[in-house]
Symmetry: C2
Subunit: 151 residues, 2 copies
């Protein structure tokens, strides 16, 4: 048996620090995402085809990481991380952005033909985190929707 790597190549969870747990959970539920039974009143988990999504109050998450709460969260500019939902066809991008907006999100960038050969747009979720919706013809999916990056 191979010796496991000390730091296995995994992103098991992506956790967003949120202002109002119920409001944020309602947003992802409105997208039709499946809330895991592991959720409780302090943290909410959604299943995805890739990393699991966690929602946790921002201040609690900052305390867990032992990092200071940012002085000016709103309007602080781009936080440096994007999450992408890749879709199956170019024509799926705009409807996904519209559905995210209908659920309470905000479109940051409409569906746009990208110079790398795909179609991409962005919405902000109810906490302002940027989600890309992209069609990328070079990145195929496994049958379960899990993205399969080329080797």
């Amino acid at each position: 048996m191979a010796v496991p790597a000390a730091v296995p190549a995994r992103i098991s969870l992506v956790t967003l620090g949120v202002a109002d747990l119920d409001r944020s959970a309602a947003f992802f539920a409105a997208l039709g995402w499946h809330r895991s039974s592991a959720s409780n009143e302090q943290i909410v988990w959604f299943k995805t085809a890739d990393s699991a999504l966690g929602l946790f109050p921002y201040d609690h998450l900052a305390a867990d990481v032992e990092l200071p709460v940012a002085a000016h969260r709103s309007g602080r500019g781009f936080g440096g991380i994007t999450l992408a939902i890749n879709v199956d066809t170019a024509d799926d991008v705009a409807p996904a952005l519209a559905a995210a907006e209908a659920a309470g999100g905000r479109i940051l960038k409409p569906a746009t033909r990208a110079d790398w050969g795909g179609v991409s747009g962005y919405f902000a979720d109810v906490d302002g985190y940027p989600w890309e919706v992209a069609w990328n013809p070079y990145f195929p999916f496994a049958p379960d929707g899990h993205l399969q990056l080329p080797d």
Copy 2:
């Protein structure tokens, strides 16, 4: 066949805006992570058991999202998103943190028994993004290391 959801439950990609693409790519390579052949001089991709990891220059990523560059990136406090690498046993947490430090990361929080029943610590990667290393006995893995959240 079921009609696909407008916003499929996927986190296909997690992309980090980085200060120096070569430096950041070297960090994840030093962890033993597999760099995808889809990488080029402008963007680097690493395969994981869950969402794929992208590295892209921060300013370019901000421009792609059409969000302003944050005025004070360093010392701005917690950006609101954590990424977690779950490991197989409680005893795997501390060595993973040590390995991340040896690769050029910085330990934010040592391996700590958590009140939710697991063991958790955090390191910052070379761009300061917080990664949790956690053992969670309630969240099992698929054979490929993909986290399987309870239904």
